[in-house]
């Protein structure tokens, strides 16, 4: 079974691992402890101490805090329960007219705002652009991933998490309170 040094995984994340070494990683059988090494690397890079349970994206993490599991940006800004689409707690900027779209797409490169709107989801803490959606008006935001976190830890990693939570999308429950 392949083993890769943590330093090389860091270089891979930063896009500076030489191509030959990257090819080795691509071609070799995968290292079974990659997840743990990856989380260790990310944990050292974030601005909070809560343990990372799952890196949702390179910038967003499901973390354990006070018996709860919440989504946090790497800057520490919290987006609440991981079973509610984190976008509901983000800042949003929507480009749905020619003036705002033309800041990105010029001339013939511009999509038609009556067909599509470009939504930018921004972290209220650090101003990071976390996701961009290009969807027509009426489309609910994608809830890209709702993990079955307890199955993952219990059955796939073999180390159950404390404070088991029900695997359930709670987004509509949150919306219903608005």
């Amino acid at each position: 079974m392949a083993e890769f040094h943590k330093a090389d995984i860091e270089k891979l994340i930063d896009g500076v691992l030489p191509w030959r070494a990257t090819q080795d990683m691509l071609k070799s059988s995968k290292d079974p402890d990659r997840f743990d090494k990856y989380v260790e690397i990310l944990q050292a890079r974030v601005a909070f101490a809560d343990p990372i349970l799952l890196p949702l994206t390179p910038m967003l993490f499901i973390v354990a805090t006070g018996g709860e599991r919440v989504v946090k940006c790497q800057c520490g800004h919290s987006f609440g329960d991981y079973r509610v689409n984190w976008k509901l707690s983000a800042l949003i900027h929507v480009r749905d007219d020619e003036a705002s779209l033309s800041e990105i797409y010029k001339g013939r490169e511009m999509p038609d705002p009556s067909w599509i709107q470009v939504r930018e989801y921004i972290c209220g803490g650090c101003g990071a652009q976390l996701e961009v959606e290009a969807v027509p008006r009426g489309c609910p935001p994608d809830f890209e991933f709702l993990p079955d976190l307890d199955t993952f830890y219990r059955e796939w990693l073999g180390r159950p998490l404390p404070d088991e939570k029900e695997y359930r999308d709670r987004t509509l429950e949150e919306i219903a309170t608005w």
């Binding site: 800042l91 490169e109 961009v132 991933f145 796939w156």
Partner: protein
């Protein structure tokens, strides 16, 4: 012991899989475990045998699509139809060929007309599992000592299948009756020869019969190559070994794919919306019902279960369209298998990986399952919505790999596919119609650690090859004035999408030529929903052309011609060429409303791919390099990446301090102009209820999506707190 029919064997295989969870009930891979060396060696021999068929068949074919572009595929299957291995080439069809063989068995052809050595069977009919009429699917039963032991299969993409418009990208077809010649699950030859009436039908019902028959002979030559080489394998390694190992390769591949899901992803539910436009209102169409703009809803919901099986749903898919862009569920599954093989199951590419998927039947009457409600639906270019949908699979798995730390496996979304087809008299006086291969070489998606590559990838085939310009010039009455990497054609992000290229053609040596700018998965009014991790999606597809030009005079005067797409706000075609008609920003797809003549110009862009990550995280040095290469512009560097540069000695140099300051200002500006989601939601739901600034195509799409999928409709209404009876206008 009674010999089971093939149909009974398929039933027994299904039952064994249900009971054991292993294909063919193979809980143990006996051949692999007892003799792993031979097992591995024979796999490579069988794989090479399929590649030998590809090389032979493509050369026998006279069509530029196969001979130059390699747009064909050969496969070797078990007696019950599962693909054991396939050749290089257009891998999207592997599942379809497998299902075709199973269908021949399921509908009783074993009893009548029976299967025997030398029989040639074909199908291209979407109603019976084909994808679209130009893709001719063939299979031949292979016998050894009078026992049917395997099948050889092939698909090749013919230049013209006799649809209502010339060529093979029949996006304009209004119904299935206009899709062209139908080979509906037929035996088309015996004793390794086509029936005379098969050739007569090809000659009277396709526009390029020599090419189409050349392709047919190429398919046959490849299948015979498989048959003859397989006999050599069997005589060396034994029939029992081949029969056992053939099944083990399929089960082995299933295990590999399931193992990768379990060790490299995370269980849970993943969703990706995707949309695609087809703007046809006011354009040249065939029937009145086609004077309409359409929008496709292409949703993907994937659930990874505790046992690493995968459930897939297209709940919410929109309704059929009155164009050739509807696909059968069988063909859609084949496309999915192709995408999945690229992403997960590529150790041994065969039928194994997809067997661990549970695919919910797409909504009746949707573009992905048209016939229950719209039996006349056309499928002239059925790939168009399907391949756009499959693009989501790359991002979906890219996200999953990231969560487990396998950054080297990540990919963003794919580029789009806009085709160029010509029809008319060429320089030799011959009528010709066919597809150029420009679209078979797009930018590749950004990876988790690097930019995508330029003009080096294609979603529908690993054979990413746009062919030689000189060969295209031999077939078609065109000359290349340019074939250039197109700046800013990939998505903007920390890692940008690989860039596409622009082909610039001058029409030459023809009395008249039609340019069909086709939709095989393009977007012209919209961009993809591929803003992965904060990137901006790649630009829409917008071609250009000029008719009645002064190019002859420019050549005589040795003045500059047009060689590239140029500035998006000041296209080169309008600034350099004088012409009676200049369309410098055409909304695709379309067929030119008039024949193009000598010295007319076509500017045909090929898409770049999608990006990954916040654009202001892009390394400033990478931006400077792109500027030096001419792959981006100072506006994009400054306004989107926040990189401040100067160009003191012919090369761009980054001002690090000014860049850091600008990026900090951009972050702050984002926070200032953005609003809390809840605040936006409250205003947006009012605009939705008022259906404000929503194109009729968008309204019709939502209407059909909600009508065909009540559960999807209920969730959409609940999200926006809309009344239970709320519907969009149609």
């Amino acid at each position: 012991m009674a010999v089971l029919s093939l149909k009974e064997r398929i039933r027994a295989n299904d039952e064994a899989f249900r009971k054991t969870g292993s294909l063919f009930g193979l809980t143990t891979l006996t051949r692999k475990e007892s003799d792993p060396g031979t097992y591995e060696a024979v796999w490579h021999i069988l794989s090479n045998l399929c590649n030998a068929a590809w090389a032979t068949g493509c050369k026998v074919s006279s069509s530029p699509i196969a001979a130059e572009g390699g747009d064909a595929l050969w496969g070797l299957h078990t007696a019950t139809g599962e693909a054991i291995c396939i050749s290089r080439g257009i891998s999207a069809h592997a599942g379809l060929l497998s299902d075709m063989i199973k269908n021949f068995i399921a509908i009783g052809y074993e009893e009548y007309p029976g299967f025997k050595q030398g029989d040639i069977f074909e199908n291209n009919d979407p109603h019976y599992g084909g994808i679209h009429s130009p893709d001719f699917d063939m299979c031949m039963p292979l016998f050894y000592n009078d026992e049917l032991i395997a099948w050889a299969s092939c698909v090749s993409h013919v230049a013209d299948a006799g649809s209502v418009t010339p060529g093979s990208i029949g996006f304009l077809n209004p119904d299935c009756y206009s899709d062209g010649i139908a080979i509906s699950m037929e035996r088309v030859g015996e004793q390794d020869r086509f029936y005379p009436w098969y050739e007569m039908r090809i000659r009277s019902r396709t526009r390029t019969p020599d090419f189409v028959m050349g392709d047919a002979r190429g398919r046959l030559a490849g299948c015979i190559t498989i048959r003859e080489r397989l006999v050599e394998v069997i005589e060396k390694y034994g029939l029992e070994f081949f029969l056992d190992a053939g099944k083990e390769y399929v089960e082995d591949s299933r295990r590999y794919a399931v193992g990768r899901v379990r060790t490299q992803t995370v269980p849970g539910r993943i969703r990706k919306s995707q949309f695609k436009d087809l703007a046809m209102k006011g354009k040249r169409v065939l029937l009145a019902k086609q004077d309409i703009d359409c929008m496709f809803n292409l949703p993907m919901e994937l659930t990874i279960n505790a046992d690493a099986s995968v459930d897939l749903s297209l709940r919410g898919a929109s309704g059929t369209v009155p164009f050739g862009e509807n696909i059968s569920p069988t063909a859609l599954k084949s496309g999915l298998m192709m995408g999945y093989s690229h992403i997960i199951g590529f150790d041994m590419f065969n039928s194994g990986p997809i067997s661990a998927w549970n695919i919910e039947m797409p909504p009746d009457g949707s573009w992905a399952n048209p016939y229950p409600l719209d039996f006349q639906a056309a499928s002239g270019v059925a790939w168009a919505p399907a391949v756009t949908w499959v693009s989501s699979l790359y991002e979906v798995f890219g996200r999953l790999f990231q969560m487990r730390g396998f950054v080297e496996e990540m990919a963003a979304g794919a580029g789009t596919i806009m085709t160029a087809e010509f029809s008319g008299i060429n320089q030799t006086g011959m009528y010709l119609t066919g597809l150029t291969l420009e679209q078979a070489s797009q930018g590749s998606p950004a990876r988790g650690y690097s930019d995508g590559e330029n003009s080096a990838w294609c979603i529908y085939t690993p054979e990413a090859d746009f062919g030689n310009a000189e060969i295209s010039e031999l077939y078609y009455p065109i000359l290349f004035l340019g074939r250039n990497v197109a700046p800013n054609s990939g998505g903007f992000g920390q890692f940008r999408g690989g860039l596409g290229h622009t082909a610039v053609w001058m029409v030459y040596n023809t009395p008249g030529l039609e340019y069909q700018c086709g939709d095989a998965g393009m977007r012209s009014k919209t961009v993809a929903n591929h803003g992965m991790f904060g990137a901006y999606p790649a630009v829409p597809d917008r071609p250009a052309y000029a008719h009645g030009t002064n190019v002859r005079e420019l050549i005589d005067a040795q003045k500059p011609l047009i060689h590239e797409r140029g500035d998006p706000e000041s296209p080169a075609i309008a600034s350099k060429i004088q012409a009676s008609i200049v369309e410098d920003n055409a909304v695709a797809p379309f067929v030119t409303p008039h024949a193009l003549v000598d010295y007319d110009i076509i500017v045909h862009p090929i898409a770049g791919a999608e990006a990954m990550g916040d654009p202001i995280l892009r390394k400033p040095a990478a931006v400077a390099n792109d500027l030096d290469e001419g792959w981006t512009t100072e506006r994009v560097a400054r306004d989107i990446h926040g990189v401040v540069t100067s160009k003191p000695n012919g090369h761009f140099v980054v001002d690090e301090a000014a860049t850091a300051k600008r990026r900090a200002e951009m972050r702050e500006a984002r926070k200032q102009r953005a609003v809390p989601f809840k605040e936006w939601w409250a205003e947006e739901r009012k605009r939705i209820q008022a259906q404000e600034n929503m194109d009729p195509a968008v309204l019709r799409m939502w209407h059909s999506s909600m009508e065909l999928s009540p559960k999807y409709a209920a969730e959409l209404r609940a999200f926006w707190q809309l009344p239970d009876d709320f519907v969009f206008a149609c």
